[in-house]
Every structure is written in C-alpha cells, then in structure tokens.
C-alpha cells in the first residue's frame, strides 16, 4: 500500500502549503489530504492557484470518491472529512470540533484508523489547538508525526499544542518538511 499524508493547517496555513506542495514530484506514490481552516469561504480560488504551481493534482475532496496517489485533496468548507477503510472520502456536517469544521482532529483520527503505519501526519502553523489530539492518534496507530518548528511558524500555538500532546517524531521548518517526507517514502 502506498503512503498517505495528512496535513492540518490553520492561520498562515496557505502560505506554508504554497511552499510544501510544489516540492513534490509528479509521479509520487503518495496521496495527500489537507484540512485548512478557512471559515465559510469557498476553496476554489486557492485550489486553482495551488494547482497552477504544483506538479500534483490539487482538488476539493468529493463525497465517497476514491483516494488516489498523486492527488492533493482539500476538505470542503463547512464539512468534516473522514477516511473510510479502503481509502474512500466521507463528508460530515456533525458539530464543530475546536470551533472548526472541517476539523483536523476528525481527519487525522479516521486516517489513523484506516492507514495505520502507512500514514504520515503534519501539523502546520495555526492559532488554535485543533490537530493535537489527531496527531496523537496518528502516532498511536503506528504512523509518523511531524510538526512545523513553532519558532519559525507564522503562528506557533497549533504546532506547540501538537508537540505537547504527542512528542512528534520530527520538528522541522517548512523548507525541510517536503525533503523529509520524500526520504520517508
């Protein structure tokens, strides 16, 4: 089974993703699923932009679609995203978690159940605590945990919360994150 990467990002997250996503080569055996907190706005413009600067295909995740390597899936605004065993997307409108829908915790938890040690989880910049519990689950189920270096992040609260919650395997700058992931594949 190919590896899967889940990314959680909040305040400042788009800036970080603009650095990380374009670093991945075209034929990579990795699927990427992202929760970025953007409020109720729609995703279309930044998805189009990321697509234009990346070698991978960037798109909004669709209800019950199959997850495929070489794609980057973004959670739609106002829906949680969960992963079904067999690698299928499910959406949910359940209550917000950490004032967030989509929530990073919800994605990471279900991805951990499904991909276990084939999963890599990354927590990037942000101003809330969403993702800390999720990253803990990634670790618990045998996956690899990475957190953006809080000293260099645009907002340090989210990386710090994740570090306190789970002692991640790697703490890295944005520039080093993609390099490390390519080594892990």
């Amino acid at each position: 089974m190919n590896k899967v990467l889940v990314i959680g990002a909040s305040y400042g997250g788009l800036e970080a993703l603009k650095v990380i996503i374009p670093k991945f080569p075209k034929d990579i055996s990795l699927a990427i699923i992202v929760v970025l907190h953007i409020g109720e706005n729609n995703n279309d413009s930044f998805i189009a932009y990321l697509n234009s600067i990346s070698k991978l295909q960037v798109k909004e995740a669709e209800e019950k679609e199959n997850i495929k390597s070489g794609f980057v899936y973004f959670a739609p605004p106002n829906y949680h995203i969960l992963i079904e065993s067999g690698g299928i997307i499910s959406l949910s409108t359940e209550a917000k978690v950490h004032h967030s829908r989509p929530s990073i915790d919800v994605l990471f938890e279900s991805a951990a159940w499904c991909y276990k040690n084939k999963l890599i989880g990354i927590i990037l910049t942000g101003l809330n605590q969403d993702g800390a519990e999720g990253l803990k689950q990634v670790k618990k189920y045998g996956g690899i945990s990475i957190v953006e270096d809080p000293e260099r992040a645009i907002a340090s609260i989210m990386p710090l919360s994740a570090i306190y919650a789970c002692k991640p395997d790697y703490i890295l700058t944005i520039e080093d994150i993609a390099k490390q992931i390519l080594k892990l594949l």
Partner: protein, 278 residues
Amino acid sequence: MDQSQIENIDIEIPLFLEAIFQKYGYDFRDYSKAHIKRRLMHRMAVSNFTTISQMQDKILRDKAFFLELLEDLSINVTEMFRDPDFYTAFRTQVVPSLKTYPFIKIWHAGCSTGEEVYSLAIVLKEENLLDRCQIYATDFNRKVLEIAKSGIYLIQNLEKFQRNYKNSGGKSKLSDHYTVKYGSIKFDQSLSKRIVFADHNLVTDHVFAEVNLILCRNVLIYFNRELQNKVIKLFHESLSYSGYLCLGTKESLRFTDFENNFTDINANQKIFKKIIGR
C-alpha cells in the same frame, strides 16, 4: 492501544450494529464506517466502557442507553436556509414549474429539528404556492421530530438564520413568519398547517407516498455507497413523472445506478429532475 485491541474493535463494531438491528430494528450496518466508529469510540469514552463488547452487553439490556446512542448516531446539526444559494436556485429554477401544478406533494426526508422545513415553507408561502402544497417531513429520530412539530427555536441562532434568509433572496422579513415569546421564536400557523411530521426510516421503511418533490440534504453522506444507491432508488420510485430531487451541496448521484435517470437542473446546488419514462 496494542495491536490486538485495534483489531478487536473492527471485529466488534459490526457485531454491535447487528445486535442493535436484531434488538431494536434500527439498521446502521451500511452507514459510513468511519462515521459510526467515531461516534462509538466517543460514546465508549464518555460512558466509561473499555470495549465495544461491554457496550453491546449494556445496549441489549438497557433501552434508555440505546436511545442515548441513537442520538449520537443521528447527526442532527441543521440550520435555517443552510446554503442560501440553494434556496435562490430553488426559487428561480424549480418554483416556476411548480406554479403550473394544481397540487404539490413534497417529501422532506431527514428533516431533523425542522429548520429546513420551515425555510422551504417560507419560500413556498412567499411564492404564493403554500396553499397548494402538502409537505411530509420525516426523520427516524422521534426526539427531533417533536422539536420540529413544535416549531419553536432558540432566539440565539436567529442572527445566523436572518443572514441566511437574506442571502437566499428572501422577499420580506424573516420576522414576518414567526412570533417571539420567552426568548424563543415560534413559526406561524400558516406554515405548520401545511406540514405533517412523521417517523420514517430511509433504510428499513418503504416508499412513503408519491410526491412531486423530494428534499434530502446532508443525510446520504452518512451512508456507504450501497446504501446511498438503495435510498436513491427509493426516491426514484417515490417521485412522480418529472419530479424534482434536491440533495445536499456535496452529495451526488455519481456513485449510484440512477445517474442517467435524472437531468441536472442545477449541478452546483444538486437539484435534479426525474427523466420521464426512466
């Protein structure tokens, strides 16, 4: 958690759902597995069980506990005029054709606490159609149906509702449609008298009535592909010739056998029309 405990959970959950089905007749076996697991793990932690099997023992013997879990499993989050653009599309692309019908039967499936049903009734009233409509609003959760029937909602959420109403192209003021009392709002009699609320389970019950319009928004996302297909089949059978089907903004007919039996009226807002003869 050790390896064997992780494996056990995936063995125990289907058994647990089977037990609920055998005992209480509610069938969650083809719901989205990730969604069910999330709700069960949450309930296990909150109610201090260490295994799903322990919880199964409890659920077989304690109906009150089952009813509590039913609340967990039926996600009831809803709001008035959720996705305002949907209502705009409905007004401009469905209402004109409904106006040509002498009488309109509507099935609102998975109506939860009813906010969406009153939203629809308001649109129909503003378009002078409500007097010709019969709305059946159904859900499998009796507790939310009681709230829906009462038509009474907390004033706290009003601001959001008003904003949505305005963005949806509302023709008057939302406050024309309710009265305020004791920190709550109550929707007008003229709306509720056209609505019948009823207990109906989309998984285990049959065709409800022949109708001209079905709304079922943000319910199918909790089902797996097979069950989505089964429920769309039920809707297809329930719709009259050229009846309309409205799904949630992120739902589709894509993974069902019925994609070719409907045409898109508005692909973004997931408004479909049954093709005559199919």
